[in-house]
Amino acid sequence: MRLPWQRKRAVPELVRAYEVGPWPDGRSYWRDVRYVVLDVETSGLDARRDALLAVGLVEIEQARVRLDRRWYSLIRPPAGLLVEASSIRIHGLMRADLADAPPIDAVLPELLERLAQRVLVVHVARIDVGFLNQALDLSYGTRLHGPILDTARLAATLHQNAQLLGQVSRDMPVPAIQLRALAIQYNLPVYPQHDALNDALTTAQLFLAQATHLEHQGIRTLRALLRAGGVQSR
């Protein structure tokens, strides 16, 4: 933990505004909470070595995914960064696409504005959160602040509950974790994969389905949801 006066440079107003929240109240009914569902594409899996290449997000308000408030941006990687061929194969972002994209410093302000005062929802949060924290640390000496929900963790909780209720067979000891597999399990449409915006959208729908199922099991508040599938920002 770095103390405020040890920050690398002066903190812009927007960062301070982001940090103060206020963040959604844990006692709120989950449908009354505002969420932002996010997915990133990266050049590799190591947050310290690899770079963010794209970020896509949709907002959820009144338990409805708002496509009119979607946001997507490509991010120009630092000069000299090697984009692994294997990751190009996954997300299809070529160097040429990224050459004209804004650099991370130009993308972060709008991103922070969109994350502010909302619960962040991510599928397999560890990777995305790691990259975002790394970028925020380098640019502003800050990190993610608000509550974070992980749809992969929610899936694990739902699977455990189902096992307790005897709704799954014993020979399925672990839940599916892939976004696509989970979406199919809930009979949700799967949008073309490995595009940050489409994946964020698929995640958002998955989250609504999961939260609706959890509500049936008595989980009504944000706090209870966070117990079922929250992660620490660090």
Partner: protein, 624 residues
């Protein structure tokens, strides 16, 4: 976003919107997930704030009377609700309750009003449907929207989990598994599900009763002894109507559904009957019961009548074409089977092909027959005579059923088009190698073939020859030049060029200067890409990645083709109703301003693609 816009545009009335309007709608969609048995709209409750479009799951329209819940309509994927309330800005007139968990796209009221104001066809759909819903609400239950079976794809009907069991398991284990999962059918197999394999099959609860219990077999009997094999299946993209027909034909109640050759689910008779409408579905059953040629003929008449109903219901012409193909195929198959019974079993394997528009699933009216017959190279000496009699009899009966003889004599009764496989292969190869006028003309009819009966696998024998055209610049170039001989009728100012015939003026030929141009272009792209699809829309959608056309242009040709086909079919139907001979000539100035604009845009899209093709093949003619 593109995916959502594309989904919307698959269903009426969003299919009436130009791409940019569908995109606008998609960009403002909100997505909501409803639990099962949840009231989305309540009778007498607050007015709807959105147009709701079902993406996944089903909703019921319910009315509660004296404590009884009455379901009088159900909607599935692609169908919309909430508009009567939106349009009148009043309380909903029915309660809409989810039957299953439902994922819905919500179009905000202001966007709905905007689209309504801008696009008359979009608006009129809701006005008409609202009236229809109102009257059906007043009438009683089971008033499912009519076109659903012709638009529903099997993938949307899969409601049963796929449970598989090993072929060496016993019937008892199968019964236990069925009980545990509450299903009536198991796939007998080991993953990956290779259902074309001899060792796989399906077993149903009826099989357990009829083939095990009634036959007195022990409960240790291995499934492989009593299962049904080979399995009859359909791809997930097939229409519910096709499944219905297949089930009736084969007397089966369960149908595995495949995607890329892998079984992804099971559809039952009941799944389909649940979507049952009161309209043309009775047709296949009638076909089965028909005992005389007279009755078969009346079946043909009813298919034609059904086309009118489908057209009124706003079904896309390409889907109507599929429905008609399924119905006509069934008729021809029935006649072939009858004749086989009369003549005795065929002395050698053969294939009955339909050609041209029938082969492309684009026949919407009973037009001239185009067919051909292929028989195996190895055949007893009496086989040619058998097939002569068979072909002549079938052609004769088709005439009796209202399909006139082909004026060009492209029929299996013509000895030239009734040949052993090797002769056909040589003929096809010759057309490609020596592309003279005759060859180009023939390839346009014969390369669009579709086998509808017989055990000889024509696709395997002939399609590889056709795909040899891929990369044959001379053949493709000649084909392109022939296609461009008929340029889109536009003048220098990109206005529609109209014709005059006798005392009639402002005419345009919707076939020769319309649909046929798209058909020819699509065939070229399919040959370039080695695409084996025969339908024009399928060819455009599937071949663009490997052909000299882009995706946007391919889609614009698809829209152009749909529009030209629709205008043409509507025109012909009106002529038939007036007792006239159907023609392809329409009076341009009789069209509404909107239709005129759309027609012009369609022809412009065709001209653009023609110019592209002219450049690629340097045909020296610039079209349009």
């Amino acid at each position: 976003m593109d995916e959502i816009a594309a989904f919307l545009r698959t269903y009426p009335p969003f299919d009436q919107l130009p791409p940019e309007a569908a995109m606008l709608a998609a960009e403002h969609i909100q997505i909501e997930y409803f639990p099962a048995h949840h009231d989305v709209l309540t009778f007498g409750g607050p007015p709807a704030e959105f147009l709701y479009i079902v993406r996944k799951g089903m909703v019921d329209f319910v009315r509660e009377e004296e404590g009884e819940v009455l379901v009088f309509d159900s909607l599935g994927p692609g169908e919309a609700f909430g508009y009567p309330s939106l349009i009148r800005r009043r309380s909903p007139i029915v309660t809409v309750r989810t039957r299953t968990e439902v994922l819905a796209y919500l179009l905000p009221a202001e966007i709905f009003y905007h689209l309504q104001a801008e696009y008359p066809l979009f608006a009129s759909y809701f006005a008409a449907s609202a009236l229809h819903r109102l009257t059906s609400a007043v009438r009683s239950r089971h008033q499912t929207a009519e076109p659903s079976l012709f638009q529903t794809r099997l993938q949307e009907l899969i409601s049963h989990p796929l449970i598989a069991i090993r072929p060496d398991a016993t019937v008892r284990e199968a019964a236990q598994l069925m009980r545990d999962h509450n299903v009536s059918c198991l796939l007998v197999n080991l993953p990956p599900y290779e259902i074309y394999d001899q060792n796989s099959g399906i077993i149903t609860d009826r099989d357990l009763r009829n083939r095990v219990l009634a036959a007195g077999l022990p409960d240790s009997t291995p499934l492989r002894q009593v299962m049904t094999t080979p399995v009859v299946s359909l791809p997930a993209t097939a229409l519910a109507f096709e499944a219905m027909l297949l089930m009736l034909e084969r007397h089966i109640h369960h149908l595995p559904v495949t995607r890329d050759g892998v079984v992804v689910g099971m559809v039952t008779h009941t799944d389909i009957l649940r979507r049952q409408s009161n309209s043309p579905l009775f047709l296949p059953r009638q076909l089965q019961r028909a005992h005389s040629l007279e009755e078969l003929r009346s079946y043909g008449d009813q298919v034609t009548a059904a086309v009118g109903a489908l057209l009124d219901a706003g079904v896309r012409v390409s889907d109507i074409g599929r429905v008609v193909a399924v119905a006509h195929d069934a008729l021809i198959q029935r006649i072939l089977r009858d004749v086989e019974t009369e003549l005795g079993p065929p002395p050698a394997p053969y294939a009955w092909l339909v050609l041209g528009s029938e082969g492309r699933y684009e026949q919407t009216l009973r037009t001239d027959q185009d067919n051909a017959l292929i028989y195996a190279d190895e055949h007893p000496p009496d086989a040619p005579e058998y097939f002569r009699v068979l072909a002549e009899t079938v052609v004769e009966r088709l005439v009796a059923c209202g399909f006139p003889r082909c004026r060009g004599n492209v029929m299996a009764s013509n000895p030239q088009w009734r040949q052993p496989l090797s002769v056909w292969q040589a003929t096809f190869a010759h057309w490609i190698d020596v592309p003279d006028e005759e060859a180009l003309l023939r390839s346009g009819i014969f390369f669009d073939f579709r086998q509808i009966h017989g055990t000889l696998y024509a696709e395997g024998g002939l399609r590889p020859i056709i795909t040899r055209a891929r990369g044959n610049k001379i053949f493709l170039g000649r084909l392109a030049r022939a296609a461009l001989r008929n340029p889109a009728p536009l003048n220098l100012f990109r206005n529609v060029v109209l014709e005059r015939r006798g005392d009639q003026k402002n005419l345009i030929d919707l076939k020769h200067r319309g649909t046929a141009m798209v058909v020819d272009l699509a065939r070229i792209f399919a040959l370039e890409a080695g695409c084996i699809d025969t339908s024009t829309v399928g060819r455009l959608r599937r071949s663009w990645p490997a052909a000299s056309i882009g995706e946007t242009e391919a889609e614009s040709l698809v829209s152009a083709f749909e529009l030209l086909s629709l205008l043409r079919l509507r025109h012909q139907r009106a002529q038939i109703e007036r007792g006239e001979e159907p023609t392809n000539l329409i009076v341009y100035t009789d069209l509404s301003p909107l239709e005129q604009r759309e027609l012009k845009e369609s022809l412009q899209a065709i001209a653009r693609v023609q110019r592209g093709i002219a450049t690629v093949y340097q045909t020296g003619r610039i079209a349009g």
